[in-house]
């Protein structure tokens, strides 16, 4: 029995295949022109990895901004629930997830079954999201991956606004024009984003066992600064933190399959 989870985000598409409670294939790549094209392609990749045909998938669940535009998905779940369950699958001790995606950040609190208890989302303003990091890296003239490495080399973060991506960008430009060191500007950016995230976590009651997921979680400097800003050490995950949404979707696909087998309505 094989279950598929597809997560079409604003910047990346991810897919996971699950068999007997084990991840047998996973892949992520930048999104294509349409959600459907992204889903088709990323699904093709994981099927190829596992040497399977699409007919062999028992059930597919979609999530992410493009979740409603994938005709071959049998069901869909919100990103919030998927990140909750996916992370729980990856590490059973997790109770709070800080997810920083391309276009939103969310904090999800889950129960001892991986089900959502509470959540907050910041989806009105792009400051602090992956997209704003990308823009700031471009302004700074470095690759996104290097932004973190630059920031890690600095001990003195320069002040950068955390109110709006555009204002952040103006601050960064001013600092650049003044000839400040790129390392310290990069550090200023990661600290500013961490503060932004920390203010979001204040809106829920954090439960012990906090982890971080989403594309931005691969930026070591941002992770370090968030840990400092909220005073915790993140719980590690067994899988790539960018795959949590897709992994959760695959778990939901399995749940949905069992429900349908038991004669529940679809």
């Amino acid at each position: 029995m094989i279950f598929a989870g597809i997560d079409i985000g604003s910047l990346t598409a991810k897919a996971v295949l699950l068999r007997h409670g084990k991840v047998i294939a996973s892949h992520f790549e930048p999104v294509k022109a349409t959600s459907l094209a992204s889903a088709d392609h990323v699904m093709g990749r994981v099927l190829a990895q596992a040497g399977l045909r699409i007919e062999e998938i028992s059930l597919t669940c979609s999530t992410g901004y493009g979740r409603l535009e994938i005709p071959f998905a049998d069901c869909n779940r919100s990103e919030v629930s998927c990140h909750g369950l996916g992370t729980f699958f990856s590490n059973k001790s997790v109770r709070t997830i800080i997810d920083i995606g391309g276009q939103d950040c969310k904090v999800v609190v889950i129960d001892s079954h991986g089900m959502v208890e509470d959540f907050v989302m910041n989806d009105k303003c792009a400051a602090g999201t992956g997209r704003s990091l990308e823009i700031l890296a471009r302004t700074l003239g470095v690759e996104l991956a290097d932004l973190g490495r630059f920031a890690l080399r600095s001990r003195r973060p320069l002040p950068v606004s955390n109110k709006c991506s555009i204002f952040m960008e103006l601050d960064v430009m001013q600092l650049l024009y003044q000839g400040k060191r790129r390392e310290n500007i990069a550090h200023g950016i990661t600290v500013s984003i961490a503060r932004r995230i920390a203010s979001l976590t204040g809106k829920v009651t954090l439960q012990k066992g906090i982890c971080i997921s989403g594309g931005v979680s691969k930026n070591a400097a941002v992770v370090r600064d968030i840990e400092q800003a909220i005073g915790v050490t993140f719980t590690p995950l067994a899988h790539d933190p960018q795959l949590m949404g897709a992994l959760g979707a695959a778990c939901f696909a399995e749940k949905e399959y069992r429900r349908r087998m038991e004669g529940g309505k679809s």
Partner: protein, 377 residues
Amino acid sequence: MTIFNEIRQLAQSTSNDYLTRARHRGHPTVGYFCSYVPEEMIHAAGAVPYRMRAVGSEGTSLGDTYFSSANCSFVRRVLDKGLRGDFDFLDGIVFMNGCDHNRRLFDNWSYAHPDTGFNYMLFVPHGRSEACLAQYGNELAKLGRFLEERFDTELTAEKLWNSVALYNRKRALLQEIADSRRSAVVPISGTEFLSLMLAVSVVPVEDAIALLEQALAEIRAGRIHTEQAVLRLFVTGSCLEELSHLELLESAGGVVVADAICLGARYFERPVQVGRDPLAALGERYLRNLSCPRMMDDVAGRIAHVRERVSDFGADAVILEKLEFCSMMSGESYISSHELRKFDIPSITLTRELYGGGVGQLKTRIQAFYEKVINRS
């Protein structure tokens, strides 16, 4: 042919034939804001009360000329419509200090003076005490004198009681339709109910009663919206008039079964008690009806009302609706969500701009909330 098609049509238009016909019969149209302006007084003066709304708004660029971007999108859109001439069919407007944004709407409207007839400001106290009631009585008397002079008429007790009877009838019909959603088989969706409210608050009361009677007949004849809603919702908050927003809530699997909003229960709950003095009776009803967050001394009452209705209508969750920059609902939604948590009633605050974008984000938020509520059960 269902009456709900015509109702939806009325709900989505700024003006309508009913108003035009009434005008030809010598009944001018008077706009009003908020739920604390007694429609009976406008009606008794021979005019048709018209609840102001931003339906059909094209943007805020003209409204932004007078308001800042930190004002709520309701006042910006309504003023914008006014400046575009959409409300030129009105013969006057009764404004109210519902909140600071609405209060300033009066100033800006007077200053920009679109061609909408007179501007009258009704000041309503922010409380329900005896002193507030007495002051509200004075304000109503002043409004009465203004209307008498303006329309060259006399607001006799007889006329007022006659209007009260009509509006009580309208309220009773709305109440009955609203109550029909108590059963497991929901005959009418929240979106349909809101369109009903939008329609009957912009047509003469006599026509409204006729429309409501037809709607009620359909419901009694076994109209079904859904037999088994995934989630039954209670909606409360400030200004909410977008059918598209409730559609979004209901397309994700929920159905709105009860509410405490201005275009909802706040409008029709509790009839005016017939007694000796019509203005006193109106004052008592309007000031002490189901309150909105502008009333400072009734937070507990509002929470109690939500709890009572939630259990009465078998609602699974509460949606707290708030417009960006709504000063009233900012505090209220915070307190409400805390209080409701104590009683284990799940709630979510949805902040939005009136007719705003970001539908994708809102959809995710709503779906996640529904999933969370369903997982509890």
